[in-house]
Symmetry: C2
Subunit: 243 residues, 2 copies
DNA sequence: CGGCGCAAGATCATGTAGGAATCTGAATAA
DNA sequence: TTATTCAGATTCCTACATGATCTTGCGCCG
């Protein structure tokens, strides 16, 4: 008896892609509770595929830091970022991205100003027309904007290392609440302007400022949730990085 | 006939660890030619296990950037680093590691000076006693030394991002030739000293200098190999399948 | 009477074997 | 020389067996 019940159109192939999208969406939407264990058999049966593609997907998700693996105990979803983890993430961004903005602010064909402007126009239009959930679009724009600058910096290793952190993905997962997009877009515009003008110092500083502000916004949203876990035993005062 | 020929002692489990070590060693030693495709069936039979653990290992190796995956075509070993890739890698290190050294050079319990000194003593002893292949030990020491400093910097995200690049692994793969360890160890000692003295500026600069010198050494070794493959721009070179 | 330890059952991860769809590569015909 | 077809090889998925791990319930001790 065929237990298939979904994504049966192209039954021969592309099973793994569908499963990957489905599981990723489940984790991001929060359908699977953060920190909960994942039952391979249950997932495979609910998606109508065998266990092998599910395992493959889980291993890929482990690379995305969306699940963790314990030998002999299987996979669990990673817990949500706490404040120290969020700070570490943004310190990393503060280390990498201003450098990338500086590297991109050169008078060469690699200068990404045109692409960035196009991206900004697109998101402005999208925010005007779209009435409902703008968060999806906003996060997608943010991802593309920063990735474009990273790409223009011309260092595949740095680009890959940054992509591996999946910072947008995790911040997206953290905050289902609405974020004011206007401020973000304005800061992006400032960065773009400095890059278009080929002013490395200004571009670096604008990007650093943008990341600092962004962290402040996220941390503020975090404060709202601090009530749920009020005992916050922060260790020694965290050092702030400067360059 | 039983095709088993290795790691048959505990046949019940722990297959994946053995397979991972074996394949990783094969790639690093160069038994599998860089760029060649990997036949899952052949590997599974030669190691005496089924295809599933081999596949799992390949997925993990993909995370290590030792193999690449093409849907429908399977896995291939990644080609060796060329000079631009090596430069990108060291630019990334130059971005991250001096920052880490600066962060570690603080007067706190997290200061890694003691651990670094221990590591340096160990490698000095090891080099005196070991007569044969010191390269293994040297690379292992280098890995531990830099990892220790990264760890002391106290940022898990940066640490993870750096670990994901597996820079030592790839440089190891690149240069089977002997490298003079004395210079490396001396530079390490300088870095350690600055960190022990809690002088962030000096530590940062010492680490930066070390990385610049290290790149120069690798690039020099690279020059020596340029003769072997002078015409390297041909399109699709004969793909040879090796297992 | 309540807490602790132990053991049997159940659950689940891990590995094995085999089959179907697909890709590779070369020989053949236009 | 170029497009097409066909056989061989190989990936990818399904289905199942096995061993480890977690849970539940009972008996024992305090």
């Amino acid at each position: 008896m065929p237990p298939r019940q979904s994504s049966d159109a192209s039954k021969g192939k592309a099973a793994v892609s569908d499963v990957y999208g489905a599981m990723r969406a489940s984790i991001l939407k929060g359908d699977i509770e953060p920190g909960a264990r994942i039952n391979i058999d249950a997932v495979s049966r609910s998606l109508g595929v065998s266990q092998t593609p599910v395992r493959e997907v889980l291993q890929r998700l482990e690379g995305d830091n969306l699940v963790v693996y314990s030998p002999g105990r299987g996979y669990s979803t990673t817990p949500l970022l706490d404040l120290p983890a969020l700070r570490s993430l943004f310190e990393f961004r503060l280390l990498v991205e201003p450098w990338a903005a500086r590297s991109a602010a050169v008078d060469r064909l690699a200068n990404p100003a045109a692409a960035l402007e196009k991206e900004l126009s697109a998101i402005r239009n999208s925010l005007k027309t779209t009435s409902g959930d703008a968060r999806q679009d906003l996060v997608a724009h943010d991802t593309r904007f920063h990735d474009t600058i990273l790409l223009a910096a011309g260092n595949p290793v740095v680009q890959h290392a940054f992509a591996q952190t999946h910072c947008h993905l995790h911040t997206f997962r953290l905050y289902p609440a609405d974020i004011d997009g206007a401020i973000t877009i304005a800061e992006h515009a400032t960065v773009r302007e400095a890059i278009a003008a080929c002013q490395p110092d200004r571009a670096e500083e604008a990007m650093a400022e943008h990341i600092r502000n962004s962290f402040a916004r996220f941390a503020q949203a975090f404060e709202g949730k601090a009530d749920l876990a009020p005992l916050e035993s922060d260790g020694p005062p965290k050092r702030h990085i400067v360059t």
